[in-house]
Symmetry: C2
Subunit: 254 residues, 2 copies
């Protein structure tokens, strides 16, 4: 288990260029970090938004080329949505969690539960263009982590973040959909608290807390798609963000 | 709408003494911040855990003095729980959201949905002692904020945080259950993104992201119940954390 830091810094990178398909994202991040005299150091957690990763990986779809199925047409008409968008949402999903009030809450092929299966229109040039979630965000995080290691020697953790809503609460927060180099959940099971009680069930989703912390320096309307959390003593690990998906048999909110 | 900061600092206070009923929490925080040469400055967001606030406000119950109702006894037997604990959980609740797999997911009188209605055993001295959520976390946050303002002149925001689970994902994160001095949700409605698209529905739960960021320097097993987030350009506001409770008519997960 990692020790708590007295102080963390969260640094938003301001000078990343517009990312295009095929770009080497790790290099662009390293160049921006050097340009901004921050660098990427051992112990850093580098948080990268899904949107910029999806752009680099070409996970962009032109709705003009999508033919909606009869079911997508039916749902879209009833929900007053673009049937081509609904078709893409269905293709990215393995299960409908809720379909009501103009909202499609879907379970993605990775197992993540979110609105529209992560299909999103914002910050994508072109009126008919939407972005999809990366195919394998854990694998993408690991590739970026290894690139940092190979090019600078820095032992980092990398998180791919996305903006999810939550039941019962207003507003969205950033969560981790890809994790490399660190344990996404810190377990306190078996440790005792300050009163000497055994902590039996406490597990903290530190990867989600790191994504949310990074979210504080990322603005939806500006180009801050990468942030560095410096000073968090993460526990090395390779479980990936997919290990944060609660198994169906222990999920009360399927 | 607030501007994004290039850099934030998150500072965990290490020297807060053990808090007891009737203690002036604002004074203890100010003294610790001065002792640690951090201070409380204008623009700071001060995040205080529910546990330490509940102690100061005497929101502690001795289970030895609780007589469980027949229904609490029935449920406790079936779920293999302490019937006195179940009784306290029921008293703190206005609705059962899920009751399954040894979990009681409740809606509190404030409207928050969480396990055991926030009734918690950890970090409380005495085997039969449990803590309850504060009666009015927004009001408590406002009292602390005003005390900082009166004693130092600093214009701060104050967040009361608690550790909540989430559907579909493993692990807990810190969320805001009390907020004073700032807008808990930042709305981007009507603004345009980098691609020139109107952002129609984006609202970010910055108070929850701030609570999660503070959680990174707070350890369950040690005494770091207060953290300062320095450098976040919050939007002044008085809506309180209760404004983050999604109204029933727009909630797909009642």
């Amino acid at each position: 288990m990692a020790r708590a830091a007295r102080e963390l810094r969260i640094i938003g990178l301001q000078t990343l260029p517009e990312v295009r398909q095929g770009d080497d994202l790790a290099s662009l991040i390293l160049e921006a970090a050097q340009r901004e005299e921050t660098g990427i150091l051992s112990g850093d957690v580098v948080v990268v938004t899904q949107k910029v990763l999806s752009k680099a990986e070409g996970r962009i779809v032109d709705l003009a080329e999508v033919a909606p199925s009869p079911f997508a047409l039916e749902i879209a008409t009833r929900m007053e949505k673009d049937p081509r968008l609904v078709e893409v949402v269905f293709r990215e999903s393995r299960r409908v969690v809720r379909m009501d009030q103009r909202l499609l809450v879907m379970e993605t092929h990775h197992g993540y539960v979110c609105a529209n299966a992560g299909v999103d229109h914002s910050n994508i040039p072109g009126d008919d263009m939407v972005s999809l979630l990366p195919l394998d965000p854990d694998g993408s995080a690991e590739r970026i982590r290894r690139a940092f290691q190979e090019r600078t020697g820095a032992e980092t953790a990398v998180i791919i973040s996305d903006t999810f809503g939550r039941p019962w609460r207003e507003g969205t927060t950033e969560v981790a959909i890809g994790v490399a180099g660190m344990a996404p959940v810190e377990s306190y099971i078996g440790l005792t608290d300050t009163a000497g009680h055994l902590l039996r069930t406490t597990a903290i989703a530190v990867a989600d807390e790191l994504a949310s912390a990074a979210g504080l320096v990322m603005e939806k309307v500006s180009r801050v798609p990468v942030a560095i959390v410096r000073g968090f003593p993460f526990t090395p690990g390779a479980a990936g963000a997919r290990s944060m998906v609660r198994p169906a048999e222990r999920d009360l909110f399927r």
